[in-house]
Amino acid sequence: MKFKIYRYNPDIDTAPYMQDFDLNLESGDAMLLDALMMLRKQDDSLGFRKSCREGVCGSDAMNINGRNGLACITSLSSLKQPVEIRPLPGLPVIRDLIVDMTQFFKQYHSIKPYLVNNDPPPETERLQSPKDRLELDGLYECILCGCCTTSCPSFWWNPDKFVGPAGLLQAYRFIADTRDQDTAARLDNLEDPYRLFRCHTIMNCVDVCPKELNPTEAIGKIKDMMVKRAV
């Protein structure tokens, strides 16, 4: 199989370049991450992140043939050759396929991604009805891989101000949680032309999410709640 991989080591290279790789491999059931690990045996300077290698940790998000995805759950047989692999767009490159996620997590932390409840903790858990719990489906599964946010043009133009689809999905996850008591403050925090309203429903986020979540729908629900409280 043929690969074209983005290479950049700021200590050595003056500019990024694409390196060709050839791997003697029948695609079969193998995933892209398997191929990358074999390529690293050929060239041990090739830098990429990985951990769980089964689509749960979100470490190996990258741009595969122009589309963001997780290498570990992208089947080699589904890819057109030469497979072009680049780092996630819109974030500073540390080395090769490794990007600096600081801005991404800064936005994530800005929406207070934790339950705010000022009541004294009960003896056991804070219970929810099954119906209320159902609201969190499609929200809590996010693994923060960054595929959606880094495919969003609004995030490319304003990464310091726009929360981005992943952060907004998580914002709605806590707005939708009946155990949370900070709803008004959470909506206040997002009522801003940059933080929320940079979303122009481009829907690249929905297109690339490896967990098949729908940030656009969550953003729509945040807007609906704002309308509901304003009129």
Partner: protein, 115 residues
């Protein structure tokens, strides 16, 4: 002034809603005009002048144009917010766009009512 990233202007919802409402007004107006034109057996200057001779059509047209200008303001502002980074240049462009749109409103009144 320190160079820090600041957000929290606490607006945006109204503009987002207005953009949707004005889009509906423009869609209805466009449909009405297209249907009217298709229903005409013959089409010429007289039909066109006749359509705009009554006050209801002039008022409806004015509503359409006001919707268009407000819609355009939000759209232009969004483009400027995305691509123009220095706040001073952004503000200048905002002011110029607003002034231009206000002029268009005055001009529209003059055209529709033949002042």
């Amino acid at each position: 002034m320190v160079n820090r990233i600041v957000t929290g202007a606490h607006y945006g919802l109204r503009d987002w809603l207005v953009q949707r409402v004005t889009a509906v007004v423009m869609a209805i107006y466009s449909a009405v005009v297209v249907v009217f034109l298709l229903l005409q057996p013959e089409f010429g200057y007289d039909t066109w002048a006749g359509l705009f001779s009554g006050n209801p059509m002039r008022t409806f047209s004015m509503l359409f144009l006001l919707s268009l200008f407000y819609h355009a303001w939000i759209g232009m502002r969004d483009i400027v917010m995305d691509y123009i980074k220095p706040a001073s240049i952004r503000l200048t462009i905002h002011v110029l766009v607003i002034l231009a749109l206000v002029l268009y409103v005055i001009w529209s009144v003059q055209i529709l009512w033949g002042l």
